[in-house]
Symmetry: C2
Subunit: 184 residues, 2 copies
DNA sequence: ACCTGAACACCGTTCAAGT
DNA sequence: ACCTGAACACCGTTCAAGT
């Protein structure tokens, strides 16, 4: 017997996906594991750290292989993969974005984007600005989309959930700007 | 005697700015007003509604006149104004973005952006995608910047706060993409 | 109309103690 | 190493009652 960190994180993701972030409390998670709340603090120093570990695991599970050869197609691929990974679990966007804001996650997609833009011939500064812009767009669209999807699923809602078309269109708009900065 | 909604919202913004969003509890706010917690529910149906009212007031107070004549300069103006308004209060970005996500605020900047892009000759769909992209970029950059600023102010931090230059650069990147979509 | 007092059903976290 | 039991210092919200 005796749980390990990965068991705790795994169960936390189940609770998150089934009942939502607002129901993912330390007490609720402990009960779900048949433990006292205080027992969780043997595996994790606090709730924020647990949420960061959940964010990492969500991204790890959603990670797909890169196939595109061109730098701009690969940038789209990274963003679309990030979006899909977050959409795969209830409130996934919330959890991942919060962890990223606290400097505790999503560093891998950022690194991949920066690499792609540099490979495309963009200067260090433009690649940096472009990377952050692509990440912010991906986070923003996905958070909005997931909120709309969940609101629609929960009941009364009027404004249509937008879908993935608008997301890709937004990313392409930014890539248009980036491509114009490539000096041949 | 007897408070009105605007007194409650005003005091809430003071508490927010001085002690941060995590300290802005209904109980704390009530104490600050010399009231019982239950008294707040006479002015506001719940905390979420109060936060939306705070977001509205933050944007109202930060609102500046529009001066730019060109559509693209005015779009930058709207975004920069939105950013400044959020940065003016501690955790302002958090509060405004959350309200926007719940469909309870920031509808005015969105309307102004849409109008500017349409005036620039962009089709309805491109204007819509562009508006959302500009908003997401503004929100993302500002939230990240404010988090970094506050982390730097609180003590140990290494990564530099980025500043407004990167923000404008990101917005310009997107405008490059939008300008290329204007058919003359 | 605006507020009090008391309660309900929760939180995250700490800490001594057990095995 | 992993967990229990009990406590501390809080939350948002409801509701009967007062003026």
């Amino acid at each position: 017997m005796g749980y390990h960190l990965r068991d705790v994180v795994g169960r936390a993701i189940e609770v998150l996906d089934e009942y939502g972030l607002e129901s993912l409390t330390m007490r609720r998670l402990a009960a779900e594991l048949g433990l006292q709340p205080s027992a969780l603090y043997h595996h994790v120093p606090n709730k924020q750290t647990l949420l960061a570990a959940i964010a990492d695991e969500i991204l790890r599970r959603g990670r797909r292989e890169r196939r595109a050869a061109d730098w701009d197609r690969r940038a789209v691929e990274v963003c679309a993969n990030l979006r899909d990974a977050m959409l795969a679990y209830r409130d996934g966007a919330d959890v991942v974005i919060t962890a990223y804001t606290f400097g505790l996650g999503a560093s891998e997609p950022a690194g991949e984007l920066r690499e792609a833009l540099r490979e495309g011939g963009l200067s260090g500064n433009v690649a940096e600005v472009g990377t952050r812009a692509l990440l912010h767009l991906t986070f923003g669209y996905t958070a909005e989309e997931q909120a709309a999807l969940q609101a629609a699923g929960a009941g009364a809602i009027d404004w249509e959930p937008a879908g993935g078309g608008d997301f890709e269109a937004g990313i392409e708009l930014l890539l248009d700007g980036l491509r114009s900065k490539v000096h041949r």
